[in-house]
Symmetry: C2
């Protein structure tokens, strides 16, 4: 069986990527990081359940608690003094942006992939409904793929697999439903609470996606 | 003062980069990682002393002990069952290669640099006396610099500063001496022992460099 790594946050997008890799018949290795983000316990629980659902061959949970020291007060996903925005802006990157997060996680994934000789690394980045994060854009992924090729042994060149890159959230929901992805096990909300808040930018994107897809979201919300 | 980050291993090359940044008048922030490499205690001690010597504004020591799990038995720098080579090969990458290490460390450095708004990140990679590691080549650094530009906020683009890129070890020794770099505080040996072994590839490169530069190496060796 050909090996694939999936960067799994426990959210809807990365879980759908796991579902796509499963449908393609890969032997899946999951990588999930904890950088003390507000919702880390919730996300890790979800990621663990998704890994079990798909029978991951191995699942690494990596503690990056030092990120708090590196990033200081620069992101609201870690720093609870900063407020999570409920409105998106077309011109500005929201304070939920975590500096260089995707590169850090992808770098760890490539080191593991080279060790395992995995063919590809799946990640749920998305260029449409993506909150304006720079490290979700196709040109960023392309540049990173080049680094992965040049920074590893000459005979190794992992693909950075981004099947959701050009899909809207509604299209992702439809794809997930088609593949039987366990959306009830996923968590998208930026707030650390029992039920999803329904008002943060991430919840709004998710709710809009389900609505446009004509699908009922299986998770409970605080405000709906 | 303009801020600069230096990736500091405690070796001769990265310490010389710190010396170059110091001479240029930067406010220096050091980043040193511990990935449970054989010589980690020795390297961290040296890095700490170098940071104190240059009066770093801040110095992060980052524990990446999970690297052992990611890399399993793929590098002799971590796995003590693998033997450290004493001969270099022109065709093969030695087992001291650590998969994707430079990208992981540089990614952490970029996240910190973006948070600090640092102008550049100094790293002691070297394309001549470099043991054949893929992630020391100029084309790799150039590709990574592009990722650093594309993966961060639009108005931020850190330079990856590699002043030793095209220097031989002898030229590095001369540069270090010229700048008064504390070479006595540095550690290059791959073996975990009190004195440098003098026979591993890294010691051989260092010894050859000092010899060609006509400079006496201030550190003691086991075998000389």
């Amino acid at each position: 069986m050909t090996r694939a790594i999936v960067v799994l946050s426990g959210g809807m997008d990365s879980t759908t990527v796991a579902g796509i890799l499963h449908a393609k018949g890969y032997e899946i290795y999951g990588i999930t990081v904890d950088y003390l983000q507000r919702t880390s316990k919730k996300e890790l629980d979800c990621a663990k359940k998704v890994g079990e659902f798909y029978g991951f061959k191995d699942h690494l949970f990596i503690n990056l608690s030092f990120m708090k020291e590196i990033l200081k007060d620069s992101t609201s996903l870690i720093d609870e003094k900063l407020e999570i925005p409920t409105e998106s802006s077309e011109d500005e990157i929201p304070n939920t942006y975590v500096p260089f997060r995707n590169t850090i996680i992808l770098s760890l994934a490539v080191a593991w992939a080279e060790t395992l000789n995995a063919e590809l690394i799946g990640i749920g980045v998305n260029a449409l409904d993506y909150s304006g994060y720079p490290d979700c854009r196709p040109e960023y992924i392309e540049a990173f793929e080049k680094v992965a090729r040049l920074g590893t042994k000459p005979n190794y060149a992992p693909q950075i697999f981004t099947p959701l890159q050009h899909m809207s959230k509604a299209e992702i929901v439809k794809k997930a439903v088609e593949l039987g992805v366990p959306l009830d096990l996923t968590w998208s909300c930026y707030q650390n609470q029992e039920k999803a808040c329904g008002t943060c930018e991430s919840c709004q994107l998710r709710i809009k996606g389900f609505k446009e897809a004509g699908v009922t979201d299986p998770i409970p919300y605080e405000s709906t």
